[in-house]
């Protein structure tokens, strides 16, 4: 049996439906708590420098790091369950890697400077900057999602 192809008009209409379906995802407003919790978790990182430089300090540090990682994994899973889908990172992979590297560099630089100059607040300044960046990204993505949602409601 030969496949009957759609007319160019029908094909164009199908492509519009494809765009509409993909656009529906962009209207998903990410939960505010995700960004606030992530920012708080980043902001407390320099606290690690207060651990005593001994075996006990190392053990406490490792346990704290395991707890921190477990909380992060729990939060990401909770986020995915809340929004109802697991984002595909293909298109934003470069952006994610770049922001991760930049945040890591700022945090590491600030913590080294705090240690070098014996000024603990420098570490918190760096982590605070990264945390503020997370909050800004969160606010922008929530605003963008709301705009998509309102546009969709107007179109309906």
């Amino acid at each position: 049996m030969e496949t009957e192809l759609p007319t160019p008009e029908d094909a164009a209409s199908a492509l519009r439906e494809v765009e509409r379906a993909r656009g529906a995802l962009k209207a998903t407003v990410p939960p505010w708590w995700y960004f606030v919790t992530t920012a708080a978790m980043v902001a407390i990182v320099p606290t690690a420098s207060y651990l005593p430089k001994s075996t006990a300090g190392l053990v406490v540090g490792l346990v704290a790091f395991a707890g921190w990682t477990a909380l992060l994994v729990f939060m990401v899973r909770r986020y995915q369950r809340t929004i109802g889908f697991t984002p595909r990172l293909r298109s934003s992979k470069l952006q994610l890697v770049a922001s991760g590297v930049l945040s890591g560099a700022v945090l590491s630089l600030a913590m080294h400077a705090a240690d070098w100059y014996h000024l603990p607040w420098l570490g918190y300044l760096g982590s605070g900057m990264v945390a503020a960046g997370i909050l800004v990204v969160g606010a922008l993505s929530r605003r963008s999602a709301r705009r998509h949602r309102n546009r969709g409601l107007r179109a309906a």
Binding site: T3, L5, P6, T7, P8, A11, A12, A14, L15, E17, V18, E19, R20, A21, R22, A24, L25, R81, I83, G84, F85, T86, P87, R88
Partner: protein, 101 residues
């Protein structure tokens, strides 16, 4: 990224199935209820079309329990993703008038 070969797919072309594939192509996986809500279709309609896509080997279903309730997560298989992207490329070629030339 490699441009997909235009390949018209009758299974995907049905309007609701095309929309399901379009949504699933943009994510790694999505919860059944989310797909239903985003595409504004009834659970029975979505279930019927998902069954066809599962039978074709284009979609997989994963069951997960949340708050003591079973949730179904849907995702495109590699074969499904390739078929969907080939189908979209075929639609674009039809619009451009280049399919089969």
């Amino acid at each position: 990224m490699k441009t997909p070969e235009p390949r018209f797919d009758q299974t995907i072309h049905a309007p609701n199935r095309l929309r399901i594939c379009a949504l699933l192509d943009a994510v790694q996986s999505a919860e059944f209820a989310t797909v239903q809500h985003k595409l504004d279709v009834s659970a029975s309609v979505l279930s019927k079309h998902v069954s066809v896509l599962v039978e074709a080997g284009y979609v997989t279903q994963r069951r997960a329990t949340r708050d003591t309730r079973q949730r179904v997560w849907l995702s495109l298989t590699d074969q499904g993703r390739a078929a969907y992207q080939g189908h979209v490329a075929a639609l674009q070629a039809i619009v451009a008038g280049t399919l089969g030339k």
